[in-house]
Structures are given as C-alpha cells and as structure tokens.
C-alpha cells in the first residue's frame, strides 16, 4: 500500500526493530519521518528543517543509530529517533547527498557523508566529530557513499567513482579503473563493486583479482539507478537486485563473479516512477521501498526464489 507523506522525499532507509519488524525512514523537505507499519502511517522524528540523506545502522535493532544529512551538518540519533544531536560540518552551507554507516563488526566504526558541493566528510568516533576527508577526491560533488566492509569504501560522483582502502582517509579514482558515468548508487559484496548510474545502468567489477568493469545487460533501460542490493547464493554466485526510475531488476552473477555471464532473471515495472529508493535483503526476498515525486512511498518485496515480485498490502 502506498502512503502519501505529502512531502518531497530525498532519501530512504530501512532497518529492523528489536522485534524483527521493519522500520522505514524518510529524509524529506520538512524533516525526518518514520513508519513502522510498512509505510501505512508516518510519524515525524525530527522536524526542524530539511533532511536530504538518511542511513540507519546495520545493527539498528540493537544500537538504534540513525544519521541524517541536514543543511549545515549531520543529525544523529542513538535511540531510534527519540532524540537527536546536531553535528556541524566544516562548511555551514553543505548540502548532504548521501550518508553511510559501518558498524564495528570486525573493523572500526566508520561514518561517511558526501555533500553536493563540498566533498566528503568522515567520522570514526560514532559521529561525535566529523572532518573533511577529500585527499585524492578531486570531484567535490558526491552523489553516493558507502562506508564499506573494512577494506574498501566507495564514493560516487557526477563523473565517476572514488575508492578508499584506508577508511576514507584518501581516495583514488584509478584504483577501480576509470568509469565515466554519473554514479547514483554504490554497493559492494566481498571483492565485487557495483555502481548504478544515471543513464548507463549498472556496472560491476571484481577488485581481487582486479578485472575490468562490465555492464549488467539491459540495466540502462530502467532509468537512473537509486538502489542496489546484493544477496550471495549458497553456490557462490550473487543475486543483484536493482531499483531504477521505472523498473526493478534481478540479476544472477556467476560463481567467479569477476566477469560475465550475467543473467538477467527478471524485470518488473514500478507502479510509479521512483525518484529514490532503498533496498534491504531479507532472507529469500529483497524488500524495496521507493518514493515518487509526489511523496508517495511504496514498499514491495522481490522474491529471489520464485522470480516474482509482489506488492505488499
């Protein structure tokens, strides 16, 4: 069921409650909103201004951490949105396009924020302090960030991708091989990097061994990619679920991961064009939440086994 927030939605995030239920977070023109009933109803969590990016901690059920980009800084809640702290960024006029959290499972905690005009910011103390981190990231217009897995972090820009091997201290546009595209979404699974672009669909690349980029077939037909989910299969292959402007697609990458063949398993039409979306793997399905230009938010699941996607009611 779609719900009308009645607000411009800039970004979405999903997390799991302690009871296993899903939580959908929306960064909107008027603040941060939350839904705990699959987007049927919404409550305002923070209504003091525009929020342009949002992320929930991978361990949201236990730590309740949410960060959102707002004009001039980052707001953070450590109690699932009950209270918020504002952290100012270096330049008070930064607009944040994307935020990402990595918890400390096996690696140190890392938060990244990418801004529209001022490059990247980084926090390694759970959001207490944020510092600019742009060494090597010479394009200051960041579109998407991913804190990563402790080995690589990713930052998409309007002309390509930067990769960091030291938790965002320095960035390199040659490490992953140049790709000339406006990057709109980034994802990673082990040594496989995936980027969604505005016009050219989805590209994948294996970093170890270092291979060249290859495009996922027909992915350019679905418009700007706004979310990518990866689900490893038991045989070593990977399912990739992407949500674009007009369609959701499901792919299966081969066991070797570092080259085609890539099988397009399914393409589903979205009921309305999505301006932003988020995805959350959930067992045998992938939950996707998409928002359109009217502020309607549609959650739906993509069944990995039966290759059918069903709208939740």
């Amino acid at each position: 069921m779609t719900s009308q927030l009645g607000d411009t939605v800039f970004d979405l995030a999903v997390g799991r409650h302690t009871d296993g239920g899903l939580v959908i977070l929306a960064a909107c023109q008027n603040g941060v909103f939350i839904s705990v009933d699959m987007a049927e109803t919404w409550s305002g969590l923070w209504l003091e201004g525009m929020a342009t990016a949002i992320a929930a901690s991978p361990n949201f059920a236990s730590d309740g951490v949410i960060i959102a980009g707002v004009y001039g800084g980052i707001i953070q809640s450590d109690d699932a949105g009950a209270s918020w702290a504002f952290r100012s960024l270096d330049d008070p006029r930064s607009l944040i396009a994307s935020v990402s959290i990595r918890t400390s499972n096996g690696s140190s905690p890392l938060m990244l924020a990418g801004s529209v005009d001022d490059g990247l910011y980084r926090s390694v103390d759970w959001g207490v302090t944020w510092r600019p981190s742009n060494c090597g990231a010479y394009i200051p217009r960041i579109t998407s960030v991913l804190a990563g897995n402790g080995q690589l972090s990713l930052a998409g820009t309007d002309v390509g991708l930067f990769v960091s091997t030291n938790d965002g201290l320095t960035w390199d546009d040659e490490l992953a091989g140049e790709i000339d595209a406006e990057v709109t979404a980034v994802a990673m699974e082990d040594n496989l990097i995936l980027i969604g672009t505005a016009l050219d669909g989805v590209y994948a690349k294996c970093m170890n061994p270092n291979q060249t980029w290859y495009q996922l077939a027909d992915s350019a037909l679905v418009g700007a990619i706004s979310a990518i989910a990866t689900v490893p299969d038991s045989d070593g292959s990977i399912r990739v679920v992407t949500v674009g402007n007009t369609h959701a697609q499901q792919y299966r990458l081969n066991v070797e991961r570092h080259s085609p063949p890539v099988h397009l398993l399914r393409t589903d039409v979205l009921p309305t064009p999505a301006v932003t979306s988020t995805v959350l793997p959930s067992g045998a399905t992938v939950l996707a939440v998409a928002a359109d230009t009217q502020g309607s938010i549609l959650p739906f699941s993509i069944d990995l086994e039966s290759l059918s996607s069903a709208h939740l009611d």
């Binding site: 742009n134 060494c135 090597g136 390509g160 320095t170 140049e178």
Partner: protein, 547 residues
C-alpha cells in the same frame, strides 16, 4: 720550464705529486673517508662523531654517509686530502642525483679501488684495466634490471622506508602517507607541534606564490586566512589598471561571492589602494603572484587553476587586458586560503568532466615522458589537480635536531618516491651480491690479464656491501657471502637475509635507482681514479717575515 716552476700572478705556485709515495698518500685519503662511512652502513647503524671546527662544543653525531662526506672538508696532508676530496665529490654527486646510496657507493668504490691499486702495483696497465671495468660493469646493470620489481603494498613501503631512515616510527608514517597519496602527490615535511611523528592528509590543491598585497595581508605572519565562497581571477597580467580591477570586483559581487582572490604578475600601488578600499572582513580580497617562474609553466599552472575553479585565465600571451575581461571569466571555489607564501583552493566549481579530462590527459603525458625534470613538473601538476597532498610531522627537540630529522625525512621520502617510480631491489647488499653470478660466465672468455683482473675487481665490489654488513655485525664475511649465494635470490626475496642483526630485518628493500646510481658512480669513479698518474695542487703563498 716545468710545471712546478710556473710563476703565478698572485704569488701561488703549483706543486706536483706523482711518485709512488704521493699516489699512496692519495689512496690513503680515499680510504680515510671510506673508513669513516663504513660504520654507518649497518646493519645496526653506527655513529660518527664530528668534533666541529673548534672541537670545543659537543660533537655532532652523524649517521648517514652523505652528511659525513659533506662535513669532511679537509684532511692533512694535502695529497691525502686530494684523495679524500675525490671520493667526497663522487659521493656528493650520488647524493645529489638520488638522495641516498652514498654509503653503498663509498664501500663499493673502496673495495674495487684497493684491488685495482694492487693490480697496477703488480704491473697491470691502468688504462686497459679501466676499459675492461667499464665494459663489464654493464652486465651488472642488466642483472640489476632483471632483479628489479615494482614496489607495492604497504609492508614493502615501510620496509623500504625503514632501510632508508633506520627509524621505525618515521618509516611507518612515511609508508602510511605514500600508501595513501601515491607517487604523484605533494608531501610537506614540517616540525610537529606535538613533538611526535605523525601525518595529515589534505584535500586541497595549493601552490607556492607570494603575496602581492602586503598591506592587505598585514597580520598574516605565520598564519593563513581562510576564504569561503571565493571568486578567483586567474592571470599573469600586471595588475596596474584600476579599470580591470573594478570590473573584476563588480563581477565578483554580482555573482554572489563572499571573497575574492586575484592572481597576477604584479600589483601597482594604485590598484593596491583600490583593493584596500574595497576589502573588508565581510568581503576580503587578496592578491597573489602567478605561481611558477618560467612562462610555459605559468601558462600550464594558470590553465590548471582555471580548470579547477571554472575560470578563464587572462594571459598576456593571448593579449588579454582590461577590456577583454568578462564576468564569466571569474572562477569560484567553495573554500580557499592564502598565506604569505602559498594559496590553496578546495571544491572548485569548474566542470567535473573538464577536470577529469585534464587529469586523464596529464596522466597519459606523464606515462610517456622520459625527461626527469619534466616528469617532476607534471607529477606536481597532477598532485594539485587531484588534490593529493599530505603533511608529514616530524619530531625533534632542539632546532638542530629538528633540522636533521627534517632532512632525514625528506631524504627518505625522496627514496620512496624513486622506488615507487622505478622499482626496488632486495636490500642489505643482496642485489649486488647476486650480480656477481652475472660476472662468472665471462671469466672463461678473457683475452688478457687486465680483463681477468677487472672481473675480479667487479666481483670484489659486488661483495663489498654484504662483507661490510657482516663485519659491522661481527660475523665472518666469507661465511655470510657463501650462505647468501647458496640461498639464491628467490629465497632471499621471500625470507630474511642470513644476517641476523638486532631488530627487524625482514623485508629490507633498496631503491633500484639508488643502487644503480651508487654502482655506476663507483665504477666510473674507480676507472677514473686508477688512471690518475699525478696530482697538481696549489702551494700556500710564502708569508713575509718582515713588514
């Protein structure tokens, strides 16, 4: 008329030293300097104390060959001094060329030279010996190239840095820095405020320039001023036309800038007054000189800055002037900064695609450039365009210690950059030792005694570094050399060398460029020195005993 009796206008006369005793004295000078340097070669770095000119202050403790050579300005007697200065000049050439390797060069030189003198003393012809030395030394170079491998991975970086500086904390910091920013980067070495080794990665692009507006930046001594939402006028013009500055100021305000940075060749007093009248805390204006000295470099730099900021550079070469300025010629940066000696830009508003394309072209040009100076210039430009810069903070106590540490850090950074560019060799003398195998096949085909002896000299020189390390470590040189050769190169590369000094010796690497430069200079120096038959030197003037 002999050389020794030639009158000189200033009263000096020349002396000639050419008999056997003089040549032996010349040799002693060489050996004296080489002996001074050997203790600092390793594996546990020794120290040489320099008492200084008066001998009354605390001695300076020296740990690297280049500084030892530099400090040794004269020894007595004069003929010995000639020998010492010969070697000193050679070592300084090595240091100037590659920044390191002077100890290796000294040790290799001394080992080959001793053998060469022995051979000549036994009746071998020096000129023939020289010819064979130079001819067969190329086998060593070929073998070194074969052994060369790229420097990759943080652990290898740290191992190389440690070999170069002998300081674990400094090596770790330098490895972190270069693992992060790579070879095409700007790395500044500065004294630490916290008295600890550390580093910071910077995300801005900055250039060396000087302030044109001393009046406006008064109070900036030792500081820098941050600018936000900065309009930038890029030029190499003499800023002496108020009309032009008024147009620039108007354009900056019209486009909503909060500050203005002017770049030009010079600023007239009249224009300085105009800027001072219009500059305020709400709208600060600064003027800096066009970076770079040479016109071609200036044009390239202006174009780089213009690409970053989305500006159009006003160049003298294209006839730009006050009447050609347009509002869209201004560039913008979200942030900038100025100091008396530099200015920096961050988050330029130039088109991303243009910047990326410029970087791509520069990378291709860099890959195809063989000229060393041009390569350095292109690398610096690339570091600025890609905003890859870092500060390495070094520790120290007194000003002198800080200066020494700074020199050590800069030298190590240079070695690391060389190695990233040209590759590495197994360290601890192993690479040169392995090259002795490349000499063996030529032994059977010698045509004359001088050739056989030249091969023997080369072999001796190739063994000298490992021999010196063993001696410094209290081990038997012969045993260590045999063990190393028996292990073979592949094992040596993957396992620690047979020396077992105190401390961690695993992963010892040397820069390919440094070792080859040290080797080449040593061989050519020996070839030259062996053919010196006489020394001419000025005598001191006679001091009158009566007024």
């Amino acid at each position: 008329m002999t050389l020794s009796s030639l009158p000189r206008p200033n009263g000096y006369r020349h002396g000639v030293a050419g008999d056997e005793r003089d040549i032996a004295a010349f040799d002693r000078g060489i050996y004296a300097l080489a002996t001074l340097i050997k203790p600092v070669y390793g594996p546990i770095n020794g120290v040489v104390a320099n008492a200084g000119p008066t001998g009354r202050s605390a001695p300076e403790l020296l740990t690297d060959g280049a500084t030892i050579a530099r400090r040794l300005t004269e020894i007595e007697p004069r003929v010995e001094n000639s020998g010492a200065m010969f070697l000193r000049g050679l070592l300084w050439d090595v240091h100037r060329q590659v920044g390191d390797g002077t100890s290796t060069a000294a040790i290799v030189f001394e080992a080959m030279y001793r053998e060469g003198r022995r051979g000549i003393g036994a009746g071998l012809n020096a000129a023939r010996l020289r010819e064979h030395l130079l001819h067969h030394s190329r086998h060593v170079h070929i073998e070194l190239e074969r052994q060369c491998s790229p420097l990759s991975g943080r652990a290898a970086l740290q191992g190389l840095a440690r070999s170069a500086c002998g300081d674990e904390a400094l090596a770790r910091a330098i490895a972190d820095v270069y693992a992060g920013v790579g070879i095409h980067s700007q790395v500044d070495v500065r004294p630490s405020r916290t008295d600890r080794v550390g580093y910071d990665f910077l995300g801005d692009s900055y250039w060396k320039a000087h302030s044109l507006d001393d009046g406006l930046v008064r109070g900036l001594i030792g500081q820098r001023v941050e600018l936000s939402n900065c309009a930038i006028f890029v030029s190499d013009l003499d800023l002496d036309e108020p009309h032009l500055l008024i147009s620039v100021l108007t354009a900056a305000r019209n486009r909503g800038a909060d500050s203005l940075l002017l770049i030009g060749r010079s600023l007239s007093k009249q224009c300085l007054g105009l800027l001072a009248a219009n500059s305020s805390s709400a709208f600060p204006i600064y003027a800096m000189s066009t970076p770079d000295a040479t016109p071609i470099h200036q044009i390239e730099t202006m174009d780089d800055i213009a690409t970053i900021a989305g500006a159009v550079a006003s160049k003298q070469a294209t006839g730009a002037g006050p009447d050609s300025f347009k509002e869209n010629d201004l560039g913008f940066c979200r942030r900038g900064w100025v100091s008396r000696t530099h200015f920096g830009l961050f988050a330029g508003q130039g088109a991303s695609e243009s910047l990326r394309q410029r970087i791509r072209e520069l990378r291709v040009t860099l890959r195809n450039t063989r000229d060393g100076e041009r390569e350095k210039q292109l690398s610096l430009r690339l570091s600025r365009l890609t905003a890859r810069s870092a500060v390495l903070w070094i520790d120290g106590g007194t000003e002198r210690i800080v200066e020494d540490r700074k020199r050590l850090a800069e030298r190590t950074c240079r070695v690391v950059r060389n190695a990233l560019n040209n590759g590495v060799l197994p360290g601890a003398g192993i690479a040169l030792l392995e090259c002795s195998r490349s000499i063996d096949p030529h032994t059977a085909a010698v045509t004359e005694p001088e050739e056989a002896f030249a091969l023997h000299m080369l072999r001796h020189g190739l063994e000298a570094p490992v021999r010196t390390l063993a001696q410094n470590n209290g081990q038997s040189p012969g045993v260590v050399i045999t063990q190393s050769l028996n292990r073979g190169l592949s094992k040596t590369l993957s396992q620690p060398p047979p020396l077992d000094p105190v401390g961690n010796h695993e992963g010892i690497l040397d820069s390919f460029e440094v070792i080859t430069a040290a080797w080449q200079h040593a061989v050519s120096g020996v070839a030259q020195a062996l053919t010196i038959g006489a020394i001419v030197f000025p005598r001191s003037p006679t001091i009158a005993s009566a007024p």
